[in-house]
Protein backbone atom coordinates (compact mmCIF):
# COMPACT_ATOMS: atom_id res chain seq x y z
CA UNK A 1 0.00 0.00 0.00
CA UNK A 2 -0.80 2.76 0.02
CA UNK A 3 -0.81 5.95 -1.98
CA UNK A 4 -4.05 5.10 -3.65
CA UNK A 5 -4.60 8.28 -5.57
CA UNK A 6 -2.00 7.67 -8.18
CA UNK A 7 -1.18 4.06 -7.60
CA UNK A 8 2.09 4.84 -5.96
CA UNK A 9 3.33 4.12 -2.52
CA UNK A 10 6.00 5.35 -0.26
CA UNK A 11 7.99 3.16 1.99
CA UNK A 12 10.08 3.90 5.00
CA UNK A 13 13.10 4.62 2.87
CA UNK A 14 13.88 8.27 3.06
CA UNK A 15 14.73 8.32 -0.62
CA UNK A 16 11.16 7.45 -1.44
CA UNK A 17 9.80 10.45 0.35
CA UNK A 18 10.50 13.92 -0.87
CA UNK A 19 10.01 16.78 1.45
CA UNK A 20 9.40 20.06 -0.20
CA UNK A 21 11.95 22.68 0.64
CA UNK A 22 11.05 26.30 1.12
CA UNK A 23 12.30 27.49 -2.23
CA UNK A 24 10.66 24.62 -4.06
CA UNK A 25 7.41 25.32 -2.33
CA UNK A 26 7.49 28.94 -3.31
CA UNK A 27 8.20 28.02 -6.90
CA UNK A 28 5.34 25.61 -6.97
CA UNK A 29 3.01 28.10 -5.43
CA UNK A 30 3.57 30.41 -8.32
CA UNK A 31 2.47 27.69 -10.70
CA UNK A 32 -1.03 26.79 -11.67
CA UNK A 33 -3.25 25.87 -8.80
CA UNK A 34 -6.15 23.52 -9.01
CA UNK A 35 -9.23 23.61 -6.94
CA UNK A 36 -11.03 20.35 -6.74
CA UNK A 37 -14.74 20.08 -7.23
CA UNK A 38 -16.26 20.39 -3.85
CA UNK A 39 -19.34 18.92 -2.28
CA UNK A 40 -20.41 16.68 -5.14
CA UNK A 41 -16.94 15.34 -5.73
CA UNK A 42 -16.32 14.78 -2.07
CA UNK A 43 -19.62 12.97 -1.76
CA UNK A 44 -18.70 10.83 -4.75
CA UNK A 45 -15.31 10.00 -3.33
CA UNK A 46 -16.65 9.14 0.08
CA UNK A 47 -19.50 7.02 -1.15
CA UNK A 48 -17.39 5.25 -3.68
CA UNK A 49 -19.63 6.20 -6.54
CA UNK A 50 -16.59 7.50 -8.27
CA UNK A 51 -13.31 5.61 -8.50
CA UNK A 52 -10.49 6.82 -6.33
CA UNK A 53 -7.95 6.98 -9.09
CA UNK A 54 -6.38 9.40 -11.47
CA UNK A 55 -9.38 10.55 -13.43
CA UNK A 56 -9.63 14.32 -13.68
CA UNK A 57 -11.65 15.56 -10.76
CA UNK A 58 -10.81 19.17 -10.51
CA UNK A 59 -11.66 22.45 -12.01
CA UNK A 60 -9.04 24.96 -12.77
CA UNK A 61 -9.32 28.21 -10.92
CA UNK A 62 -7.41 31.28 -12.01
CA UNK A 63 -4.79 32.38 -9.60
CA UNK A 64 -6.47 35.73 -9.43
CA UNK A 65 -9.57 34.06 -8.06
CA UNK A 66 -7.66 32.54 -5.20
CA UNK A 67 -6.83 34.35 -2.05
CA UNK A 68 -3.23 34.92 -1.19
CA UNK A 69 -3.01 32.06 1.25
CA UNK A 70 -6.11 30.03 0.66
CA UNK A 71 -4.47 27.19 -1.19
CA UNK A 72 -0.85 26.95 -0.47
CA UNK A 73 -0.28 23.40 -1.65
CA UNK A 74 -1.68 23.31 -5.14
CA UNK A 75 1.49 21.62 -6.29
CA UNK A 76 0.43 18.42 -4.61
CA UNK A 77 -2.60 17.97 -6.84
CA UNK A 78 -0.23 18.23 -9.77
CA UNK A 79 1.93 15.55 -8.22
CA UNK A 80 -1.01 13.24 -7.79
CA UNK A 81 -2.23 13.59 -11.32
CA UNK A 82 1.23 13.11 -12.75
CA UNK A 83 1.65 9.81 -10.92
CA UNK A 84 4.84 10.69 -9.10
CA UNK A 85 5.17 10.44 -5.31
CA UNK A 86 3.87 13.36 -3.34
CA UNK A 87 6.24 15.99 -2.16
CA UNK A 88 5.35 16.62 1.38
CA UNK A 89 5.34 20.16 2.60
CA UNK A 90 6.77 19.12 5.95
CA UNK A 91 8.79 16.21 7.25
CA UNK A 92 6.12 15.50 9.86
CA UNK A 93 3.68 14.76 7.04
CA UNK A 94 6.14 12.34 5.48
CA UNK A 95 6.53 10.66 8.85
CA UNK A 96 2.78 10.27 9.25
CA UNK A 97 2.62 8.80 5.74
CA UNK A 98 5.28 6.28 6.74
CA UNK A 99 3.30 5.34 9.85
CA UNK A 100 0.12 4.85 7.84
CA UNK A 101 2.02 2.76 5.32
CA UNK A 102 3.49 0.71 8.11
CA UNK A 103 0.08 -0.22 9.47
CA UNK A 104 -1.42 -0.77 6.03
CA UNK A 105 -3.79 2.17 6.12
CA UNK A 106 -4.59 3.64 2.72
CA UNK A 107 -4.10 7.38 2.42
CA UNK A 108 -4.21 10.18 -0.07
CA UNK A 109 -2.22 13.34 0.30
CA UNK A 110 -4.25 16.51 0.03
CA UNK A 111 -6.77 15.08 -2.40
CA UNK A 112 -9.48 17.65 -1.79
CA UNK A 113 -9.72 21.37 -1.41
CA UNK A 114 -12.77 22.70 0.36
CA UNK A 115 -13.80 26.26 -0.38
CA UNK A 116 -14.79 27.92 2.87
CA UNK A 117 -15.49 31.52 1.92
CA UNK A 118 -16.50 33.39 -1.16
CA UNK A 119 -16.60 37.03 -2.24
CA UNK A 120 -19.70 38.90 -3.38
CA UNK A 121 -19.18 37.63 -6.92
CA UNK A 122 -19.21 34.05 -5.73
CA UNK A 123 -15.53 33.50 -6.28
CA UNK A 124 -13.71 31.39 -3.74
CA UNK A 125 -11.46 33.51 -1.62
CA UNK A 126 -10.50 31.00 1.05
CA UNK A 127 -10.13 27.23 1.01
CA UNK A 128 -8.93 24.45 3.23
CA UNK A 129 -7.00 21.41 2.04
CA UNK A 130 -6.60 18.78 4.77
CA UNK A 131 -3.24 17.04 4.55
CA UNK A 132 -4.48 13.47 4.36
CA UNK A 133 -7.61 11.56 3.53
CA UNK A 134 -7.89 7.98 4.73
CA UNK A 135 -10.50 6.47 2.39
CA UNK A 136 -10.97 3.22 4.29
CA UNK A 137 -11.51 5.07 7.52
CA UNK A 138 -13.32 8.00 5.94
CA UNK A 139 -11.27 10.53 7.81
CA UNK A 140 -9.39 13.68 6.88
CA UNK A 141 -6.31 14.55 8.90
CA UNK A 142 -4.75 17.95 9.17
CA UNK A 143 -1.33 17.94 10.72
CA UNK A 144 0.04 21.13 12.15
CA UNK A 145 3.37 21.70 13.75
CA UNK A 146 3.09 25.42 13.32
CA UNK A 147 3.45 28.30 15.69
CA UNK A 148 0.51 28.99 17.97
CA UNK A 149 -0.51 32.11 16.09
CA UNK A 150 -0.81 30.13 12.88
CA UNK A 151 -2.60 27.33 14.64
CA UNK A 152 -5.31 29.79 15.64
CA UNK A 153 -5.79 30.65 11.99
CA UNK A 154 -6.01 26.98 11.13
CA UNK A 155 -8.49 26.39 13.92
CA UNK A 156 -10.67 29.12 12.50
CA UNK A 157 -10.54 27.54 9.06
CA UNK A 158 -11.37 24.18 10.52
CA UNK A 159 -14.39 25.61 12.29
CA UNK A 160 -15.65 27.02 9.00
CA UNK A 161 -14.97 23.72 7.30
CA UNK A 162 -17.00 21.80 9.85
CA UNK A 163 -19.86 24.27 9.63
CA UNK A 164 -19.98 24.12 5.85
CA UNK A 165 -19.33 20.42 5.45
CA UNK A 166 -20.75 18.77 8.55
CA UNK A 167 -20.83 15.39 6.86
CA UNK A 168 -17.06 15.05 6.65
CA UNK A 169 -14.83 13.89 9.48
CA UNK A 170 -11.68 15.90 10.07
CA UNK A 171 -9.11 15.39 12.78
CA UNK A 172 -6.59 18.09 13.57
CA UNK A 173 -3.27 16.84 14.84
CA UNK A 174 -1.57 19.56 16.81
CA UNK A 175 2.12 19.75 17.46
CA UNK A 176 1.62 18.22 20.88
CA UNK A 177 -0.31 15.30 19.36
CA UNK A 178 2.47 14.68 16.89
CA UNK A 179 5.04 14.85 19.66
CA UNK A 180 3.06 12.30 21.64
CA UNK A 181 2.88 10.03 18.62
CA UNK A 182 6.62 10.22 18.12
CA UNK A 183 7.25 9.48 21.77
CA UNK A 184 4.92 6.52 21.60
CA UNK A 185 6.98 5.07 18.78
CA UNK A 186 10.26 5.96 20.45
CA UNK A 187 11.10 8.41 17.67
CA UNK A 188 12.73 10.89 19.97
CA UNK A 189 15.70 11.38 17.68
CA UNK A 190 13.44 12.26 14.80
CA UNK A 191 11.52 14.60 17.04
CA UNK A 192 14.66 16.35 18.20
CA UNK A 193 15.78 16.79 14.58
CA UNK A 194 12.40 18.17 13.64
CA UNK A 195 12.41 20.64 16.46
CA UNK A 196 15.93 21.72 15.64
CA UNK A 197 14.96 22.24 12.00
CA UNK A 198 11.95 24.30 13.02
CA UNK A 199 13.93 26.36 15.46
CA UNK A 200 11.49 25.47 18.19
CA UNK A 201 13.22 24.52 21.38
CA UNK A 202 10.55 22.53 23.12
CA UNK A 203 12.32 19.21 22.91
CA UNK A 204 15.73 18.36 24.19
CA UNK A 205 17.52 15.19 23.29
CA UNK A 206 17.24 12.90 26.28
CA UNK A 207 20.45 11.34 27.40
CA UNK A 208 19.02 7.96 28.13
CA UNK A 209 16.89 7.52 25.05
CA UNK A 210 17.94 7.31 21.44
CA UNK A 211 16.17 6.51 18.24
CA UNK A 212 17.99 3.23 18.13
CA UNK A 213 16.61 2.16 21.46
CA UNK A 214 13.15 2.90 20.06
CA UNK A 215 11.31 1.93 23.18
CA UNK A 216 7.89 0.75 22.17
CA UNK A 217 5.65 2.41 24.64
CA UNK A 218 2.15 1.16 24.23
CA UNK A 219 0.26 -0.71 21.62
CA UNK A 220 -1.74 1.80 19.63
Amino acid sequence: MIGVAAGFRIGPESSAVTVLGRSQKQDCQSGSGRLWMTTRLIHDLRTGSRPVDNSPRYTRVDDAQRGSDDYDRGQVADQLTSGSPPRFAHESEAELARILDYYGVAWRYEPDVFPISWNADGAVIESFAPDFFLPEIDLYIELTTLKQSLVRKKNRKLRHLRQLYPEIRVKLFYARDFRALMLKYGRTGFLADLVAANGNGTVKAPAAVTDEVAGATTVP
Binding site: G11, R98, Y103, R176, R179, L181, A216, T218, V219
Partner: protein, 186 residues
Protein backbone atom coordinates in the same frame (compact mmCIF):
# COMPACT_ATOMS: atom_id res chain seq x y z
CA UNK B 1 16.33 6.05 42.86
CA UNK B 2 12.88 4.47 42.78
CA UNK B 3 10.68 3.84 39.75
CA UNK B 4 8.02 5.86 41.51
CA UNK B 5 10.22 8.94 41.37
CA UNK B 6 9.61 9.17 37.63
CA UNK B 7 5.86 9.27 38.07
CA UNK B 8 4.32 12.70 37.85
CA UNK B 9 0.89 11.62 38.99
CA UNK B 10 -0.99 8.44 39.78
CA UNK B 11 -3.86 8.40 37.35
CA UNK B 12 -5.49 5.17 38.51
CA UNK B 13 -4.41 3.56 41.75
CA UNK B 14 -4.12 -0.19 42.07
CA UNK B 15 -7.39 -0.58 43.97
CA UNK B 16 -9.33 1.35 41.35
CA UNK B 17 -7.80 -0.75 38.60
CA UNK B 18 -8.49 -4.00 40.45
CA UNK B 19 -12.12 -3.09 41.04
CA UNK B 20 -12.68 -2.20 37.42
CA UNK B 21 -10.95 -5.34 36.17
CA UNK B 22 -13.25 -7.39 38.41
CA UNK B 23 -16.26 -5.61 36.92
CA UNK B 24 -15.08 -6.29 33.41
CA UNK B 25 -14.48 -9.93 34.25
CA UNK B 26 -17.98 -10.25 35.67
CA UNK B 27 -19.48 -8.67 32.61
CA UNK B 28 -17.51 -10.95 30.29
CA UNK B 29 -18.46 -13.99 32.34
CA UNK B 30 -22.12 -13.10 32.02
CA UNK B 31 -21.97 -12.27 28.33
CA UNK B 32 -20.08 -15.45 27.45
CA UNK B 33 -21.88 -17.80 29.81
CA UNK B 34 -22.05 -21.27 28.32
CA UNK B 35 -19.36 -20.51 25.78
CA UNK B 36 -15.63 -21.08 25.67
CA UNK B 37 -13.98 -17.92 24.42
CA UNK B 38 -10.30 -17.54 23.73
CA UNK B 39 -8.60 -14.47 25.14
CA UNK B 40 -6.06 -13.11 22.70
CA UNK B 41 -3.57 -10.59 23.97
CA UNK B 42 -0.82 -8.63 22.30
CA UNK B 43 2.53 -8.71 23.98
CA UNK B 44 3.76 -7.16 26.06
CA UNK B 45 1.67 -4.37 27.48
CA UNK B 46 -1.52 -6.35 28.01
CA UNK B 47 0.10 -9.16 29.99
CA UNK B 48 -0.67 -7.81 33.44
CA UNK B 49 -4.24 -6.93 32.53
CA UNK B 50 -4.76 -10.34 30.93
CA UNK B 51 -3.42 -12.15 33.98
CA UNK B 52 -5.77 -10.33 36.34
CA UNK B 53 -8.76 -10.41 34.02
CA UNK B 54 -8.65 -14.13 33.28
CA UNK B 55 -8.29 -15.05 36.94
CA UNK B 56 -11.39 -13.02 37.76
CA UNK B 57 -13.47 -14.61 35.01
CA UNK B 58 -15.74 -17.49 35.88
CA UNK B 59 -15.54 -19.20 32.50
CA UNK B 60 -13.67 -22.07 30.88
CA UNK B 61 -11.47 -19.75 28.86
CA UNK B 62 -8.23 -20.34 27.04
CA UNK B 63 -5.59 -17.77 26.19
CA UNK B 64 -3.28 -17.11 23.30
CA UNK B 65 -0.64 -14.49 22.73
CA UNK B 66 0.57 -12.51 19.76
CA UNK B 67 3.40 -10.10 19.26
CA UNK B 68 3.26 -7.42 16.63
CA UNK B 69 6.11 -5.20 15.53
CA UNK B 70 5.83 -1.54 16.39
CA UNK B 71 6.53 1.27 13.98
CA UNK B 72 9.33 2.96 15.82
CA UNK B 73 11.28 -0.18 16.49
CA UNK B 74 11.16 -1.32 12.89
CA UNK B 75 11.45 1.76 10.73
CA UNK B 76 14.76 0.54 9.39
CA UNK B 77 13.53 -2.93 8.47
CA UNK B 78 10.64 -4.07 6.32
CA UNK B 79 8.58 -0.93 6.65
CA UNK B 80 5.43 -2.86 7.31
CA UNK B 81 3.93 -4.26 10.43
CA UNK B 82 4.96 -7.85 11.09
CA UNK B 83 3.55 -10.59 13.23
CA UNK B 84 6.47 -11.48 15.49
CA UNK B 85 4.55 -14.15 17.31
CA UNK B 86 1.44 -15.69 15.84
CA UNK B 87 -1.41 -17.52 17.54
CA UNK B 88 -0.43 -20.98 18.67
CA UNK B 89 -3.81 -22.55 17.84
CA UNK B 90 -6.47 -21.98 15.18
CA UNK B 91 -9.35 -19.71 16.10
CA UNK B 92 -11.73 -20.81 13.37
CA UNK B 93 -15.21 -21.02 14.80
CA UNK B 94 -14.06 -19.70 18.17
CA UNK B 95 -15.32 -16.68 20.05
CA UNK B 96 -12.33 -14.38 20.34
CA UNK B 97 -11.89 -11.65 22.91
CA UNK B 98 -8.97 -9.38 22.18
CA UNK B 99 -7.57 -8.17 25.47
CA UNK B 100 -5.67 -4.92 25.07
CA UNK B 101 -3.94 -2.68 27.53
CA UNK B 102 -4.55 0.61 25.74
CA UNK B 103 -6.02 1.82 22.49
CA UNK B 104 -5.03 5.22 21.20
CA UNK B 105 -4.48 5.58 17.45
CA UNK B 106 -6.09 2.21 16.88
CA UNK B 107 -3.69 1.45 14.04
CA UNK B 108 -2.27 -1.78 15.45
CA UNK B 109 -5.66 -3.08 16.42
CA UNK B 110 -7.08 -2.11 13.07
CA UNK B 111 -4.38 -4.24 11.47
CA UNK B 112 -4.88 -7.05 13.95
CA UNK B 113 -8.63 -7.20 13.41
CA UNK B 114 -8.19 -7.63 9.68
CA UNK B 115 -5.61 -10.32 10.33
CA UNK B 116 -7.74 -12.24 12.81
CA UNK B 117 -10.94 -12.07 10.78
CA UNK B 118 -9.10 -13.91 8.02
CA UNK B 119 -8.87 -16.86 10.42
CA UNK B 120 -12.66 -17.19 10.38
CA UNK B 121 -13.48 -16.92 14.07
CA UNK B 122 -17.12 -17.06 15.12
CA UNK B 123 -16.86 -13.63 16.68
CA UNK B 124 -14.35 -11.04 17.79
CA UNK B 125 -14.88 -8.59 20.60
CA UNK B 126 -12.46 -6.14 22.09
CA UNK B 127 -11.80 -5.59 25.76
CA UNK B 128 -9.36 -2.81 26.56
CA UNK B 129 -8.32 -1.48 29.90
CA UNK B 130 -7.58 2.05 28.75
CA UNK B 131 -9.14 3.99 25.93
CA UNK B 132 -7.38 7.14 24.82
CA UNK B 133 -9.77 8.49 22.17
CA UNK B 134 -8.05 11.85 21.66
CA UNK B 135 -5.53 10.37 19.29
CA UNK B 136 -7.76 7.89 17.51
CA UNK B 137 -7.17 7.52 13.81
CA UNK B 138 -8.82 4.19 13.09
CA UNK B 139 -12.25 3.88 14.64
CA UNK B 140 -12.33 0.61 16.52
CA UNK B 141 -15.52 -0.86 17.99
CA UNK B 142 -14.56 -1.37 21.62
CA UNK B 143 -16.96 -3.67 23.39
CA UNK B 144 -15.54 -3.49 26.90
CA UNK B 145 -13.63 -0.48 28.21
CA UNK B 146 -12.01 -0.17 31.59
CA UNK B 147 -11.29 3.52 31.65
CA UNK B 148 -11.33 6.39 29.21
CA UNK B 149 -8.26 8.45 29.89
CA UNK B 150 -6.92 11.83 28.76
CA UNK B 151 -4.11 12.16 26.25
CA UNK B 152 -1.21 11.72 28.62
CA UNK B 153 1.82 9.46 28.64
CA UNK B 154 0.82 6.61 30.92
CA UNK B 155 2.92 3.82 32.37
CA UNK B 156 2.53 1.00 34.83
CA UNK B 157 0.29 -2.08 35.11
CA UNK B 158 2.02 -3.50 32.04
CA UNK B 159 2.50 -0.23 30.17
CA UNK B 160 6.07 0.80 29.59
CA UNK B 161 8.35 3.51 28.45
CA UNK B 162 11.49 2.11 26.91
CA UNK B 163 10.64 -1.28 28.46
CA UNK B 164 10.57 0.11 31.96
CA UNK B 165 7.79 0.80 34.49
CA UNK B 166 5.66 -2.21 33.48
CA UNK B 167 5.84 -3.51 37.03
CA UNK B 168 4.33 -0.47 38.67
CA UNK B 169 1.15 -1.63 40.40
CA UNK B 170 -0.84 1.45 39.34
CA UNK B 171 -1.26 3.49 36.19
CA UNK B 172 0.68 6.70 36.36
CA UNK B 173 1.71 9.61 34.21
CA UNK B 174 5.38 9.68 33.35
CA UNK B 175 7.28 12.84 34.11
CA UNK B 176 8.06 14.62 30.82
CA UNK B 177 11.62 15.13 31.98
CA UNK B 178 12.15 11.38 31.70
CA UNK B 179 11.61 11.41 27.97
CA UNK B 180 13.15 14.81 27.49
CA UNK B 181 10.20 16.90 26.48
CA UNK B 182 9.26 20.21 27.95
CA UNK B 183 5.59 20.76 28.78
CA UNK B 184 3.54 21.35 25.62
CA UNK B 185 2.68 24.86 24.61
CA UNK B 186 -0.86 26.08 24.86
Amino acid sequence: MSLHDDVEEILLDSETVANRVAELAAQLSADYAGRDPVLVSVLKGALVFLADLMRAMDLPTSIDLMEVSSYGAATESSGQVRILKDLSKPIEGRDVIIVEDIIDTGLTLNYLLRYLWERNPASIRICCLLDKPARRLAEIPIDYTGFTIPDRFVIGYGLDYDERYRNLPYIGVLKPSVYGVAPPEG
